[in-house]
């Protein structure tokens, strides 16, 4: 990866409009290598294919197949360096705790604005710079 903006990002949400919206925000921040999944099983299949590198995974909690948290738990062993972000309309403290204790680097509550997504991508970039340094 030459630049942090070359990061490959997986966006998983069972609602097409929300996938496209998140992709649009991410693209507006300079990222272009984006893959999308419409349910938890597809997201897991993509993340299990370790021939392909993913730097960031943005996973909705409520998806058919597996929840975003379940996908993250199963994928983390294969991808310990991936920056997992959980996205959900479930804003309860228990959900946030569960996501973070399971390994998520961030939790974004729907509805969100562009600055929330930008903040979390900037955090990814700061951490990635530290790892590279």
């Amino acid at each position: 990866m030459n630049s942090l903006k070359d990061a490959r990002i997986l966006i998983a949400d069972d609602e097409g409009g929300m996938r496209n919206l998140l992709a649009s925000i991410v693209k507006s921040n300079g990222y272009s290598d984006i893959e999308m999944a419409s349910d938890g099983q597809k997201a897991l299949d993509i993340l299990r294919d370790t021939r392909r590198k993913f730097d960031i995974a943005m996973l909705d909690i409520d998806m058919p197949g597996f929840t975003g948290i379940e996908v993250m738990r199963m994928a983390l062993a294969l991808r310990p360096d991936c920056f997992f972000i959980i996205v959900s309309a479930h804003s309860g403290v228990e959900n946030v705790k569960s996501a973070i204790s399971s390994g998520a680097k961030g939790f974004v509550v729907k509805p969100y604005n562009t600055s929330k997504i930008m903040d979390i991508l900037e955090r990814y970039e700061r951490e990635a710079r530290l790892v590279k340094a």
């Binding site: 609602e15 409009g17 919206l21 309309a89």
Partner: protein
């Protein structure tokens, strides 16, 4: 007293500036009548678990597309269904139906 949903409302900050936002919101608005009809179908057939799931999805997306009040009502439906209070949930569903109006600005 139910409050009327505004015909025009703002999307979450910054989203309007995205080049693809108008098209994404237009698709959301175009699919909204079908989604509301689905909520009613699920309620009529007693599929309350799926109704709660669909209401949850609507809660998450409506606020991003300038439909904050709709999102709040969807959240009320989901919350009451999760608590087993079907009657109150169905009352909120009637609210959505009575006060839904197309967002004219988004279809331009």
């Amino acid at each position: 007293m139910p409050t009327k949903l505004p015909s025009h409302s703002s999307a979450a900050p910054g989203l309007d500036a995205l080049p693809e936002f108008a098209a994404i919101r237009r698709t959301f608005e175009e699919t909204l009548p079908g989604r509301l009809a689905l909520l009613h179908q699920l309620a009529a057939s007693g599929q309350f678990e799926e109704l709660a799931r669909q209401a949850h999805m609507l809660k998450g997306s409506a606020g991003n597309f300038g439909r904050a009040e709709l999102g709040q009502l969807a959240g009320t439906i989901e919350q009451h269904l999760r608590q087993g209070d079907v009657a109150t949930a169905l009352g909120a569903l009637d609210h959505i139906d009575t006060h839904h109006q197309p967002m004219k600005g988004s279809l331009a």
